[in-house]
Symmetry: C2
Subunit: 199 residues, 2 copies
Amino acid sequence: MASMPRAVDRLIDALSRLPGIGPKTASRLTYHLLRAGEEEAAVLAEAVAALHRQTIMCSRCCNISETDPCAICTDDRRDHQTICVVEEPLDVVAIENTGNFHGLYHVLHGHISPMERIGPDELRIEPLLARVREDGIREIILATNPTLEGDATAIYISRLAQPYGVSVTRLALGLPRGGDLEYADRMTLSEALAGRRLI
Amino acid sequence: MASMPRAVDRLIDALSRLPGIGPKTASRLTYHLLRAGEEEAAVLAEAVAALHRQTIMCSRCCNISETDPCAICTDDRRDHQTICVVEEPLDVVAIENTGNFHGLYHVLHGHISPMERIGPDELRIEPLLARVREDGIREIILATNPTLEGDATAIYISRLAQPYGVSVTRLALGLPRGGDLEYADRMTLSEALAGRRLI
């Protein structure tokens, strides 16, 4: 950008590389940090720098963690025979926040997507199967996203897991709670119809 | 957030403090940085850390700069008798990008806003008046935003500047180029009508 110090340009550049942040937003954020003062910028810089330094991947569930194995994998009060399989670490947070799942997790770190050239080998599927084989798992809940890629990933894993006699389930599809039938898309409404239950 | 390493929480926190970034976006950005790898995070951390270290404020025009006075204030090819007054450093970039202004700038660092408790003393108005008094300025172009606050700021400055015999102008209001009359708001259309010109 003309007439801007290089340090400003460089931060705008770095922020623009983040997903969903265009050059305009990056400029506004940069300018905010300039105005907010040195301390807020220092806190952010340190937080970014510490991110990789202070996190590792749990060698069992592949979630990001401070310890290996992670706090969930080593929690004796949890059900160690059920594994909930998710695409991303943030999905673990979402499910933990329901307060209704007490088993273990397995984080795939993505989904199968021929379009993005992500094959099964890019995901943490092999360590999942090892757990199914070795850890006496009775159920795996496939909680990949309800998308084409999430479905494909779930189907792929279910085929590999079934020979081990483990029960393989998938999260229910239907209308979101609090949603409005009138605004539900055709696919969601079809799934809700197909999955209707006796009351 | 439950079940997340503290380093992740801390970065989500720090990012959430930025304007327009909510906790969900902050989570997504944090997770992106985790996935993108250590190098991208290091580049961003260093860019944030360098921001204040490598920028100063030009003591003449109050724009952010690497040098004092800044490159614009010391550029002999520019018209040193005309000052364009803007609210923020990013406004300087916007006007420079037109390629149609060759004078100097003055950055107020905000606007007068009783609602936000920002009075004239919080802005760099006094140094502007000093320049008008001492530097043989012939015109100041008030390029504050076309908002209530920007207008109030412009009127305030014009009153203080007029005694010095300087010509005080304000950017034209009207329809934005490429806009659609049908979608113009009432205020804009009224301004366009009031400011109509012979062709």
